[in-house]
């Protein structure tokens, strides 16, 4: 490991679907570009590395001001999903499905597959590591 090696660390402390991906996507891209990447999983972020949970992470529309009606296929630019609608049974499952569909369409792998890639990369180099606290 040269002295000029860039290093990057992520801290995952949330266990929602939308908070799992930033570290995985950016960390994976960095790893491919020769950066030393460390990801720390802590608090709810531990769900990302729990086998029973990692492919069942969810995103809830309630209280999420970034979620817009347009994501549900309704053409209404900036209109958010009303919290009152978000509390309806099945809304979290729906939002989760929409996000997963979108990511599949973009070729983004599921969380568990990211970890498979991650570990195979870690076996052939020392540049990827993750820790849990």
């Amino acid at each position: 490991m040269g002295e000029d090696t860039r290093k990057m660390a992520f801290i995952c402390s949330k266990g929602t679907l939308d908070m799992a991906y930033p570290a995985l996507v950016m960390g994976w891209a960095a790893l491919g570009n020769g950066v030393d990447v460390t990801i720390f999983f802590t608090f709810w972020g531990l769900d990302i590395i729990r086998k029973s949970r990692q492919d069942h992470l969810e995103i809830a529309p309630v209280g999420n001001t970034s979620m817009k009606m347009s994501m549900m296929g309704v053409h209404a630019d900036n209109v958010g999903i009303p919290n009152l609608v978000g509390v309806l049974p099945g809304m979290t499952a729906l939002a989760t499905k929409l996000m997963k569909d979108k990511m599949r369409a973009l070729g983004v792998p599921p969380v568990s597959e990211y970890f498979r890639c991650w570990w195979t990369a870690a076996q052939s180099s020392t540049r990827a590591s993750s820790r849990w606290t």
Partner: protein, 103 residues
């Protein structure tokens, strides 16, 4: 800027990536590979390099995941063939720009 690689003057950017697709040839690839710490390019290396050149979009190399899916070469092998940063190394050796996507 212009630098000489394998006896040929080529255009490169500040990170040492070739900027003109048609200035690339196999001798240049071999020499850049040496700079990246790969002593010899094996048929497996060439398979990846040629696939990337054939599937480059706007002169940019495909992403790591696109390479593993397109060539059938595993992630593990990619890290073994091009240690310490396969996405970047393949792009540079193949005379392409860094991949545009993150996946």
């Amino acid at each position: 800027m212009i630098r000489s690689i394998a006896g040929q003057a080529v255009h490169v950017n500040e990170e040492g990536f070739l900027t003109a697709l048609d200035e690339w040839n196999k001798d240049i690839a071999a020499e850049i590979a040496k700079e990246e710490g790969i002593a010899e390019l094996t048929p497996a290396h060439w398979k990846v390099i040629e696939w990337c050149r054939a599937n480059a979009v706007n002169g940019r190399s495909p992403t790591l995941r696109q390479i593993t899916e397109g060539t059938g070469i595993s992630t593990k092998e990619m890290f073994a063939l091009f240690p310490k940063g396969p996405a970047k190394k393949v792009a540079r050796i193949a005379g392409l720009g860094k991949p545009e996507g993150c996946v």
